[in-house]
Structure formats: C-alpha cells, structure tokens
Symmetry: C2
Subunit: 229 residues, 2 copies
DNA sequence: GTCTATAAGTAGATAGAC
DNA sequence: GTCTATCTACTTATAGAC
C-alpha cells in the first residue's frame, strides 16, 4: 500500500524561470540605462538577482540576448507608432502633436529601454544582430518627414522648414528629454522641480510648434492629439 | 684632440615625447568620441600610434589621465565662455544669441572633446577626478539662467518661460547637435546634406528664439552676436 | 534552476632590458 | 622612449554535479 500523498514541499525559495528572467531583465534595463551596455558585466546582473553568473546562462544564451529582449519591442513600437500616426486622416499639425505626445508618453513609461536605444545607437549601428533598431529609428524619421512635408504643403508650417535639421533636432530633444525626465541629469538645480507628463508635453509641443508654424499662425490654439489605436 | 663635431645622427624613426603624446591624445579623442571611454582599451590606443601598450605608460600614468588631458580645457572653456557672455553689458537676447553661437562654434571645432564631455556625463558624475566637469557644466547652466531671467524681466522673452526645461533642452540640443554635425548620426537620409556652420547657427537661433520671445516680437530681426573676448 | 569549478581570453598596469 | 615579458584581476561563457 502506498503512503498517503505527502503535502507538497515548501518551495518558498524556488523561483520560476519566467520570474527570474523578468528580474534579470529589470536589473539589466536599469544598469544598461545607467552605465551602458558594455560597462555592465553579467556578474553584476547575476548579483542583482542573487544568483551566480553561470546560472544566468540558463535564462539567456548571451549578454546580447538580454539587451535584445529589452530593446526589441520598444524599438518596433516606436516605428509602428510613427507610421500609423503619420498615416492618420487628419491635418499635419494634429499628426505632429499626436506623434510628439505619443513618443513622449512611451519614452517616459519605458524610459530605460528608450534611453538605452538612444545611448547605444552607435553600438547598434555596427552590429548585425541589432540592425533592426537602426532601421526602426530610420522609419520613424521618415514618418516625421511625411508629416512635416504635408504641413508645409498645406500652409500650416513654414515653407522653408529644414526637414532634416528639424526632425533630427526634435528626435534628439525627445530622446534625451525622456532620459533626463526620470534620471535628473545631474542638472544644476538646488530644488528638484518635478514635472507632470502633461507639463512636459505642453512644453515640447510649444517649443516645436513655435518654430515650425507658418508666420501669423503663432496665436492659434494647439490642436488636441488624435486617437491612433 | 677632440674629433670634429659629428653630424647629428639621423633620427627619422625617433619621435619626440611631446609628438607621441599628441598622437596618443588625438587617437584617444577619436576613439572615446566614437565608442566611449570605457569601451576603448589602452591596447587600441597603442596600436593606433604604433607602439605597444606598455610604452603608453611612459606618456600617461593611467587611462583616466588621457581622458583628463582631452576634456579638462574644453570643459573649463565652456564655463568661462558662458560666464563672460552672461556678464556682457548688452541686452539679454543678444547675450543668448552670442552664447548659443559661441558654444556651437566651440562644439564644432572641438567636436570630439565636447561629444565625450556630453556622452560620458554619467561617468564624470560618479568620479572624483572628473568632478570638475560636472561643476563646469553646472556653471554654464547658471549662466544661461541669468540670461533668460534677465530677458524675461526686460520683456524680451515670455514671462512664463520655464527656465529649467528651456535651458536643459537648449543645452542638450546643442551638445547632441554638435555630435551629429560631424558624425552623421546614422540618420536616415539618402543624400547626405552638408550644412555650413552659419546655416546651423541660424537654425538653432531661430529654433530657440521663436519659442522664448515675448508674443509680438516674432518678426523682429535676429540680433548680431556681440564680441566677448 | 542553481551550484561549483573552470576555460579562454582580455583588461589596466608594471619591471627592467636596451 | 620603446620593447619584452608578465602580473593580477576580471571578462563572457561552458560543463557537469546536485
């Protein structure tokens, strides 16, 4: 006769693979964003989640695969956002405001991933595995170009807007701004002022629109962002 | 009797310490700007100037000392420029345009050093040896604050300009812009358009002034930069 | 799923010959 | 002023016990 079924052993210290994997990703995102991908060691990541460095390779085959898991979806999301918003059947200024706001929200909500995507862009550019990041950023750039060109043709924006300078400036402003927003960029303030996402959005929208709007349109109200998904 | 003074031996392969030191600094500036300080190895620097890594330590005591020699003067120069221009006895808008143009020229002429200063700012912030860089950037920020505050009080700039957001945005825009200007930031253009320094200056001045000028001043001519040294 | 143990390579830096 | 040779520490990654 068999014994009565024993109570399941206490497994308080046993952590499921998926949980551990998520913990590793969270630790890696934090360190990659703060110190950079190459400056971070797998031992540090293992220490962060209280395992030894060798055990980390049960969850990921390489250090690059950890980075891949962090940046892939956000990079593709950035491209998709830009393409979909650029194709909306609304006027160009509304699309510009919508895209700016959508990016700002995404950059803030997934600040670490997007800080990494921006900071490691030179690394991505010379990597085959991460070529998709460069391509996604390129598509986002082209979506902005569509919007600005449409706005200039429709008379909403100045006809002499330099597309390349303007877009690269906007993208760098938003990317580095999101990094600053949650990292407090060592900036020279005595009292750390805290901004709401809405304040930030209004600031950036005003900054951009004031420089690209056609003469005489300065006083017009800022358009509401459109729904895009 | 002594021999006639011999002709000095041919020393074509002998390189003076100062020359070698300069070559090392040039190679290091290039690599630090392109790949980052921590991602660059002393062996790479030695290879670049055709010596072995051990010989590099005849010229510099540590890898950090190489970085120090590259960024110290540019960082101090940035602070001095900002402080002197902020104190000029001219109106605030002229000072803003002067400082913007002076920084843009410096960032372009010493692009590698300033790209390093910006890209490694988190490294500098946790280093005692490089604390002076953080302090210099802080002083430059305060100089901008003086200028913008003066302009708002004089009615040249909008009264509701958010000083912190505006200054941090301007500084990030100029810093990353200088990096892009000579590095072609992997940007998504088919035909690489080349900008003159004057075109860049006019773009950035317009971008900034259009967003901070008091309502109704949009059409006024852009002031000429003042002399400051 | 994590451990122990370690391989194979590279990092920054040093000592002393020439 | 550069080389040879090397040290110590640390890197990513692997093999196999538990």
């Amino acid at each position: 006769m068999s014994e009565p079924t024993p109570a399941p052993p206490a497994r308080r210290t046993r952590i499921a693979a998926q949980d551990r994997r998520d913990l590793i990703l969270a630790a890696a995102a934090r360190r990659f964003a703060e110190f950079g991908f190459e400056a971070t060691t797998v031992r540090q990541l293992a220490d962060d989640v209280n395992i030894l460095s060798g055990s980390l390779y049960h969850h990921f085959a390489t250090k690059e695969d950890i980075l891949d898991a962090i940046v892939r979806q956000p990079a593709l999301d950035q491209r998709d956002r830009a393409l979909r918003i650029a194709a909306l059947p609304v006027d160009a200024e509304t699309r510009a405001v919508t895209l700016l706001e959508a990016d700002l929200v995404a950059f803030t909500e997934r600040q670490e991933a997007y800080a990494i995507i921006f900071a490691e862009r030179k690394f991505f550019r010379r990597s085959d595995q991460f070529h998709f990041v460069t391509l996604a950023r390129r598509d986002a750039f082209e979506a902005w170009r569509t919007i600005l060109r449409d706005g200039a043709e429709a008379g909403q924006f100045r006809a002499d807007v330099d597309l390349y300078l303007t877009i690269s400036t906007i993208m760098r402003m938003l990317n580095t701004g999101a990094d600053w927003y949650r990292n407090e960029d060592g900036s020279p303030i005595d009292v750390m002022k805290s901004y709401s996402l809405e304040e930030l959005g209004n600031f950036y929208k005003g900054f951009v629109l004031s420089s690209i709007r056609a003469p005489g349109r300065a006083g017009e109200p800022m358009p509401q962002a459109a729904a895009f998904d």
